[in-house]
């Protein structure tokens, strides 16, 4: 019985040692891929095109007076932005928070009980301006 316990402990410590090692070998290529991509992109956060397109779509719908459609696009933005948090934030935490706050303001404006269309539009413009500023385009 004690020999069995010692054996179990050896297996356990071996597994615990092998785990991180294999994870590091598995993830090594991704680390390289991640850093080169970040360097190649114009904004420190990387390519924000897909998020920017959702904001632009939402803005276009709002300009046509389609608040429901605009809110649906904003929801898409919220979910995809949230999903990408762990990938984007480490690249530039301060930039991420600036943009996150801008997105939050637009969501709050669009979801008010009686939304102020002008406030919604300016909040969306503010996201676009923030994205462009971070990408060094203005």
């Amino acid at each position: 019985m004690p020999t069995q316990k010692t054996f179990h402990r050896i297996v356990l410590s071996a597994l615990l040692g092998v785990g991180p090692l294999s994870a590091s070998i598995l993830s090594a290529p991704f680390v390289v891929a991640g850093s080169t991509q970040a360097q190649a992109a114009s904004s420190k956060l990387g390519d924000l095109t897909s998020f920017r397109n959702l904001v632009a779509d939402s803005k276009a719908l709002l300009d046509k007076g389609d608040l429901v459609g605009a809110k649906a696009r904003l929801k898409d933005l919220e979910t995809s932005w949230d999903e990408a948090e762990a990938g984007l934030k480490p690249r530039a935490a301060a930039d991420w928070h600036t943009l996150d706050k801008a997105i939050d303001r637009a969501l709050t404006a669009a979801r008010a009980t009686s939304p102020d269309l002008a406030a919604c539009k300016s909040a969306l413009d503010e996201i676009l301006a923030t994205m462009d500023r971070l990408a060094g385009r203005s």
Partner: protein, 258 residues
Amino acid sequence: MDFAKTRAAITLNKVPQVTLAFWAIKIMSTTVGETGADYLAVHVGLGTAVTDAITLTLLIAALALQIRMSRYVPWIYWLTVVLVSVVGTQITDALTDGMGVSLYVSTPIFAAALAATFAAWYAKERTLSIHTIVTGRRELFYWTAILFTFALGTAAGDLATEAVGLGFNLGVIVFGAMIAVVTMAYYLGADAVLCFWLAYILTRPLGASLGDLLSQAREYGGLGFGSIYTSLGFLTIIVALVAFLTLHDRSTAADERA
């Protein structure tokens, strides 16, 4: 005499023995808990405040059930751990995102809160052993310590991966290596209680980084499984392990009676 005492402690201990399955469930529960809370807050659209209230209510209910039990019941224990994991994360997030408290401030605060919990625990009980969680008071110390390890693990982990910019790829390597060092120290004879709690803190950011590595899109350096599939996969393994522990527990109890 001593033997009888130890025997009684083992049968009445309200928390599980620390095995490989224990650490596997503990690491995966972080990702499942976080995805679940995120799903309610963002996808279902309940928002942070309502989600926090729901998970806190669930935690209180699970904790009440866990404390009422006269012995360790795997599914109740692990349900409580998952919910403590979620609430511990939400406390850190509420401070960071809601109140704008810097991670550089919240990390030492949670470390101090955890140290204070251990100090009070030791002052009252003269031991921090997790093998003799046999009274209600010890159990409350145990769960308070666990709550703070999750809050501290979240704050310290986010500080390393996000604020310092380590990222989840390096995060898996760094936290995994730190746990390997603690494991080696334990087998070389370092204090078992200290090693257990250090590993308990470190497995929080390891679990989060591992979950991110599997779920994040390939363009961000992840494997691209998405948070839903990653969590469903983890949840399946957790349920299987808890079922295994429940059956194992029953056969051990039967052996002891025999």
